[in-house]
Amino acid sequence: MSNKNIRDQIINNTRNKSNIFERMIPVILLLITSVSILATIGILVTLLSESFEFFSRVPITEFLTSATWQPYVGDGEWGIWALIMGTLKIVAIAVIFAVPIGLGAAIYLSEYASDRVRRIIKPILEVLAGIPTVVYGFFAINFVNPILQGIYSGFGLYNAVSAGIVVGIMIIPMIASLSEDAMSSVPTAMREGSLGMGATRLETAIRVVIPAAFSGIVASFVLAISRAIGETMIVSIAAGSMPNASFDVTEPLQTMTGFIVQITSGDAAFGTDLYYSLFAVGMMLFIMTLLMNVIASWFTKRFKEEY
């Protein structure tokens, strides 16, 4: 008897299901999604309009071509290159330090480590990613810098190398963990194909696994570099506040983020050149990270191995 009843019941329930609710779902989800899009647009609009105000006071040619950033002297000199060079020095040192280590760790974890070792090491790496950057900042000053000064006495208290290395340490877990994810998701069958030809594990990792995981690995670099560009606390604490466009890494410097922190936490009165310069520098930061993403997406498209 029950067969017939259950079937009727199920069909009735199906008919009674509210279609309006189902149709509302995409709309609700779209609204949720637009929060982040709207926020981005809002930030962009603010940056753009305030930057325009800045460039009506300071010629954009001076901003983009000069290498002297001296906002406090007279009318001020606004050559963004001094700040860009500061950021680039930090990022370059961080990348030189973090990419080999992060990638090496990823190769070890995905190609050599046993499941047990991986299960222990990966969470530790991820803890490293959770350390507050202010802690990294005094780690740079109190631990890394004394070591550097022991090696070469020319290093000042504030310099590019100690801050750069520590920014590098901060981004290692990101590179290692994301690259490891990308490499682990390369099918085992591909490794077998390579090992079965008499290739060693390292040859297999370098010639098959890394190329196959390339887009994921590049994505990890991009995220890491973007974080290094945007990193603020470490450089504010350990890199000093002396904008300069030199290549000397033993001197103090100032990054774009460092400048913003210094001014916002200090004395920029509303409506001054200094106040508007914050937005121009912020705009520049935004353009740099955007550029990173564009380069990366071109890079992955060009070299991606699809399977």
Partner: protein
């Protein structure tokens, strides 16, 4: 159960005496396993395997799922070592040398003993780079030499005509059957002596399967082939010798026509006639 195992063992030992010495005497032995045992953890997957494979033969290994046939073939080039819990006992000789002895380089073994896998597994690279992979790994860099190897291997794998105009395309754009022949070409490119095939056609359609079976007949002139198959018709069609594995033992190993027409063990007969498995 214990009785059955003893019986299988006895049968195995009887069978290890080669039945047709006249033909076999002329051919050189490539692989010989002596009391080879393998464990996955506590699971005794291969038990006292004694088998001999000769040059220029196609050797089929048949048996129901889980009988150890793939495991055995993967032991021949030590691919089983990739599974951390594997433990082995006994010898496998490749051209008279024990493959497990300490001086044996696993890379050299795998170069001399090529492998084609169950599912086509080309690298996500161009067709050319797939085939040139092995030679490059083994230090051949000259473009002209590589060109030659790639063409020769693709021709030997009967796929040259289909891909010669698109060697720079990604191998993943090819059909499954073509991919498998690319994998065969890739294996041939380092000029191995033996080719192991682990159910190479199980993921392919009938037409591609026929192509690969025809190809095997061509290849056997220059190579020794050991093929695992769950398809008994395939074993009957392509192979010279057949070994029947059952629950980790070799039940019977003989000329293919003997196995299929006049097997000496009841279980072999039941299996090849499709009554179980």
């Amino acid at each position: 159960m214990a009785e059955l195992k003893t019986k299988i063992k006895q049968n195995t030992q009887e069978q290890s005496v080669e039945k047709s010495p006249i033909i076999q005497e002329e051919k050189e032995v490539v692989f010989q396993s002596k009391n080879f045992n393998l464990w996955y953890g506590d699971n005794h997957a291969l038990q006292d395997i004694n088998l001999t494979f000769h040059e220029n033969d196609i050797n089929a290994i048949i048996g129901p799922s889980g009988c150890g046939k793939s495991t055995f073939v993967k032991s021949l080039n030590r691919m089983t070592e990739l599974v951390p819990i594997v433990r082995t006992e006994g010898d496998i000789d490749f051209r008279g040398d024990d493959i497990f002895k300490s001086g044996m380089s696993v890379e050299e073994l795998r170069t001399r003993v090529g492998m084609v896998f169950q599912k086509p597994n080309p690298f996500p690279k161009s067709i050319y780079d797939n085939v040139a992979y092995g030679p490059r790994v083994h230090g051949i860099k000259k473009k002209a030499v590589l060109d030659q190897i790639v063409e020769k291997s693709l021709r030997s794998a009967s796929i040259w005509d289909e891909v010669k105009d698109r060697l720079t395309d990604n191998a993943y754009g090819l059909s499954g059957g073509q991919q498998q022949r690319i994998c065969i070409a890739r294996a041939l490119a380092v000029e191995p002596e033996v080719i192991l095939m682990d159910e190479p056609t199980s993921a392919l359609d009938p037409i591609s399967t026929t192509k690969i079976e025809d190809l095997m007949q061509e290849l056997k002139k220059d190579y020794s082939i050991i093929i695992v198959t769950h398809n008994m018709q395939q074993a009957a069609r392509v192979s010279d010798r057949t070994s029947f594995f059952y629950q980790g033992y070799v039940v019977e190993s003989d000329d293919t026509n003997v196995i299929f027409e006049n097997p000496s063990d009841k279980r072999t007969e039941d299996y090849v006639s499709g009554r179980f498995g």
